[in-house]
């Protein structure tokens, strides 16, 4: 099996999907000739032509709005938003249109659409190239929000998103693109959207997280192991839908839950997960639920000490987990 970076896994999946289904088109800012600012779509225009991999005008509402129309008229568009931070001009199209079209037409219309966007910080991107925007969309019924944490998952989840009949937001962590590597099978496979994955089994505490943080949590778990603390790690893989069953299972198993996300604390998906556990597993808990999340400041600052203070690291996870284990 080939070892690939997170980025390569996404690119090869796009290639495989484009080869498989001629209805798939990719477009966005700089995705064609240049192959995207992160090179995710590199070489795809050359292979598939300008009709299927094209540079669009710099206009996010138009990118998503046209993708909706194209999906209704028989294509399977995979538009790219260059940075998740710039998705807001399109929020009208995503929330008011894509998410509501099936519902408002009583099932007559559907919008099979995958919106890819790099997100997240720790890459000196400052306020407008570091944001975690997933929870704005996780709030909206009609959308699905997928955030892979490994190259293997990146492939299976992207293929599943393409196969999905409803709009899926597929967020890729920028810091994961080249730093994460792993084995990725050649053949096509689907990972069902809404199924979490137990990335590590443990008995003392549960760490529930997603995306890049999964890797930080795995590192933290190794450090904790040396201290005699056994941590279980649940990778959500999608935050809408949430895998409620697996969340409750791990909470009941260890009785101690730490929820980790880079997105800021207040209104983050951690609040929803806490509420689910409180509603359905309160008496299985041995400690209050803990959340480790980005601070409640408007976005990630630029200068290294400020950026570091914002970011979640494996050390911060280790510390919070140790604290919780002692409770």
């Amino acid at each position: 099996m080939a070892v690939m970076s997170y980025l390569e896994a996404i690119r090869e999946t796009l290639r495989q999907e484009l080869r498989r289904d001629s209805r798939i088109i990719i477009y966005g800012e700089d995705v064609g000739v240049r192959g995207g600012v992160f090179r995710v779509t590199e070489g795809l225009q050359k292979e598939f032509g300008e009709d299927r991999v094209m540079d669009s005008p710099l206009a996010e509402a138009a990118i998503i709005g046209t993708a909706i129309g194209a999906a209704v008229n028989g294509l399977r568009p995979i538009p790219e938003i260059q940075f998740a931070d710039f998705i807001f001009p399109a929020i009208n199209q995503i929330v008011q249109e894509a998410a509501r079209i099936r519902y408002r037409s009583n099932g007559d219309f559907g919008v099979p659409l995958v919106i890819r966007a790099p997100f997240g910080g720790g890459v000196h991107g400052a306020l407008y190239h570091s944001q975690s925007v997933e929870v704005f969309f996780a709030h909206v019924p009609g959308l699905k929000v997928v955030i892979p944490g490994t190259p293997y998952d990146a492939k299976g989840l992207l293929a599943a998103a393409v196969e999905d009949e409803d709009p899926v937001l597929y967020f890729e962590h920028k810091a994961a693109y080249r730093s994460l590597k792993g084995e990725v099978p050649e053949e096509r496979y689907l990972i069902p959207i809404g199924k979490a994955d137990l990335k590590r089994s443990g008995k003392d505490i549960s760490i529930i997280t997603y995306g890049l943080m999964v890797n930080y949590a795995l590192k933290a778990a190794e450090a904790l192991e040396k201290e005699g603390i056994s941590a279980e790690i649940l990778d959500l893989r999608s935050i809408r839908p949430l895998d409620v069953q697996m969340i409750l299972e791990t909470a009941k198993k260890t009785g101690k839950v730490l929820i980790v996300h880079e997105d800021n604390l207040t209104g983050g998906i951690g609040g929803e997960i806490s509420a689910l556990i409180a509603e359905h597993a309160l008496f299985d808990l041995d400690a209050p639920i803990r959340r480790l999340a980005g601070p409640d400041v408007p976005a990630m600052p630029y200068s290294p000490p400020l950026e570091h203070a914002f970011m979640i690291t494996s050390d911060k996870i280790t510390e919070a987990a140790r604290d919780l284990a002692k409770f």
């Binding site: 129309g69 194209a70 008229n73 037409s105 007559d108 219309f109």
Partner: protein, 325 residues
Amino acid sequence: MAKAKLTPELLKEIYYYMALSRAVDDRMWILNRQGRAPVVYSSNGHEATQVGAVMALNRGEDWIVPYYRDLAMVIAYGETPREIMLHLLGRAADPNSGGRQMPAHWGLKRRHIMTTGSVVATQDVHAAGLALASKVLKDGRVSLASFGEGSTSQGEFHEALNFASVHKLPVIFLNENNGYAISVPARKQMAIMDVAARAQGYGIPGVIVDGNDPIKVYEVTQEAAERARRGEGPTLIEAKTYRFVPHSSDDDDRAYRSREEVAEWKKRDPVMTFEKRLIDEKVMTEDELKAMQQRIKNEVNDATDFAEKAPLPDPNTLGRYVYAE
């Protein structure tokens, strides 16, 4: 599609849809004033623009992406009076939305009427996207988006024109300029006289047409459709027209426009003038006209009765169709 001729049959059909939608429209207001229909959005005054335009399309094959003003347009595109009334009254069998959307929020896939929401100008980019698919799939379809002049202040209108002209998409942007966005007059909406002038900024033709003359609208739309099918890209059509009634049943237009102004425009009522023309030019006899009007009356009565007797949606369906089932 070969250029359709303006045969007497086609002229009669255009008149039929205009008169039918006016009659449905009038009935909707009566139902509203009687407390039987909570809200009404009207195409009253816009019939020539809407019917003239879509009769120039390959109906049921080309896509239309209408807005709430387009009752006459969707009737000419194949929604029946019964379907319209089911929608107005929020009945379960409403084919546009199963009673989920407010009246005048059209959408019917089998007739290629795109589903529409309330947020103005969102539909403009959808039309460009439908046309993008047509270009890639080479399905020969044209898409037509319609919208009021007020909504042309929105970014999505401009994004749609730009995207479609850069990629030479087979799409027609039809502006129904009635001079007002609810109460706000066009001169407070834009610092130019004509919406059509916007076309120049996108390198596409901008055509002004008398929106109260269905034949003129038909002709310019036909030309725009041919241009689109030849792969030459979009056209912006501005049909100058007027709405004779308030913005909706919740509006009172006396607050912002004079009765004299309304009366002046009513002299050019598109349904009346076209009717007179068909008689004067002997396309139709008085007897034929009367028979058609009687048929329309019967259809509207039937539709009203049918919809009023139709069941309302089952509350247990509230959670359906959030995702594919």
